[in-house]
């Protein structure tokens, strides 16, 4: 009676961007500061 839903696991967007050397650009574009956790990090809400 259990309904199983299979989940696939894929590379995260962060990893994909990192692969292409784009993650730091993305952070700058969105004013993300993963180090100092400024209020701009609200993107993760």
């Amino acid at each position: 009676s259990l309904k199983r839903v299979t989940l696939v696991r894929q590379r995260s967007l962060r990893k994909v961007m990192r692969d292409h050397g784009q993650f730091s650009h993305f952070c700058k574009a969105h004013k993300l500061d993963m180090i100092e956790y400024t209020e701009d990090c609200n993107v993760f809400k």
């Binding site: 009676s1 259990l2 309904k3 199983r4 839903v5 299979t6 989940l7 696939v8 696991r9 894929q10 590379r11 995260s12 967007l13 962060r14 990893k15 994909v16 961007m17 990192r18 692969d19 993650f23 730091s24 993305f26 952070c27 969105h30 993300l32 500061d33 993963m34 180090i35 956790y37 701009d40 990090c41 609200n42 993107v43 993760f44 809400k45």
Partner: protein, 331 residues
């Protein structure tokens, strides 16, 4: 006013399939215990992000009914807006009738352009639902589609494994965990919120000394906590800023401290291999911290978020019947 969902879409890795309408239109979604709405892109969406994903076409569905309530979710990079409609939703053979869901007509920023999922299926409590829409699992319970009012998550540890993970509706699978489930009461019925007794590093209580709140959230990939605590924690584990994120030396994993979350008197210990994310970057191993600072403002916060980094190690059962979360070491 509804609370914002907590979705760190940058790190999401686990996705499932659902279909909406008659005949079925397929969508890849995140099963997210940190929000309560179902949304997918609409065919009427004008954003580039929508064009890159499956889009729901209401006119192609004989079971669709318009509702028309405006819908909006705020993200840091913009807002997702749309309208509410109603149709049947099929999840692995379970047909949920008259499910209201949001059809997004505008999606934020460029980030959604590249994500692997089309939409989100929220599994938190109805109090979090934007527009007061009844969540999918509440309809499953009301329509007697599940034998028990609970669902459970297994998230695979090995990225190379063909089975990425599994959600079970209506119960749990003891073969996915070791020992017995430890049940933890839900302290607030919005998120799947629980009480943490304390957080230890190598057996010493360092954070959350007098207890604190946490949510168990499959829509958050890392473990988050108050920024002042996480900054110290990154320091304790030896994480240093590299190209905009906290990284650790992959050769040091064996020397890094265990991090233990004590919940309802039971220790849940994460070794360094569990709380670091190992990846290859420019041909070499790259290890990043699985912790991230995130301040959740009162009255909802502050709280810690036990995301996929935690759930990968501890099979998680979400019991709406008894308002509790069951945890046990995942196999």
């Amino acid at each position: 006013e509804a609370n914002e969902p907590l979705i760190s879409y940058l790190d999401l890795e686990y996705f499932g399939q659902i279909s909406i309408g008659t005949p079925p239109q397929n969508f890849t979604v995140v099963f997210d215990t940190g929000s309560s709405n179902l949304w997918v892109p609409s065919i009427y969406c004008v954003s580039k992000a929508c064009a890159a994903h499956n889009q729901f076409q209401p006119v192609q569905s004989s079971t669709y009914q318009a509702v028309g309530t405006p819908f909006s979710i705020e993200y840091g990079t913009g807002s997702l807006t749309g309208i509410i409609g109603s149709d049947q939703v099929v999840i692995e053979g379970l047909t949920v009738s008259n499910q209201q869901f949001a059809e997004s007509v505008s999606e934020p920023g460029k980030a959604f352009l590249d994500v692997s999922f089309d939409g989100i299926l929220g599994l938190a409590y109805p109090s979090l639902a934007v527009d007061g829409v009844t969540p999918v699992f509440d309809n499953m319970m009301a329509q007697n589609l599940v034998e028990l009012p609970m669902f459970s998550f297994y998230l695979g540890k090995n990225p190379e494994s063909p089975l990425g993970g599994e959600v079970i509706f209506g119960g749990f699978d003891p073969s996915r965990f070791m020992g017995t489930l430890n049940w933890v009461p839900v302290t607030q019925q919005g998120y799947w919120q629980i009480q943490l007794d304390n957080i230890q590093l190598n057996g010493t209580v360092v954070f959350c000394m007098n207890g604190c709140q946490a949510i168990v959230d499959t829509g958050t990939s890392l473990i988050t906590g108050p920024t002042k605590d996480i900054k110290k924690l990154q320091n304790y584990i030896g994480a240093t800023p590299v190209d905009g994120e906290y990284a650790v030396d992959c050769n040091n994993l064996g020397m890094m401290p265990d991090v233990t979350f004590t919940i309802n008197g039971v220790p849940y210990t994460l070794a360094a291999q569990a709380y670091t994310l190992t990846d290859k970057y420019a041909g070499t191993a790259f290890c990043s911290s699985g912790f991230q600072g995130l301040d959740i403002a009162p009255p909802a916060g502050p709280f810690w978020i036990l995301g996929d980094v935690f759930i990968r190690q501890f099979y998680s059962v979400f019991d709406r019947g008894n308002n509790r979360v069951g945890l046990a070491p995942a196999v």
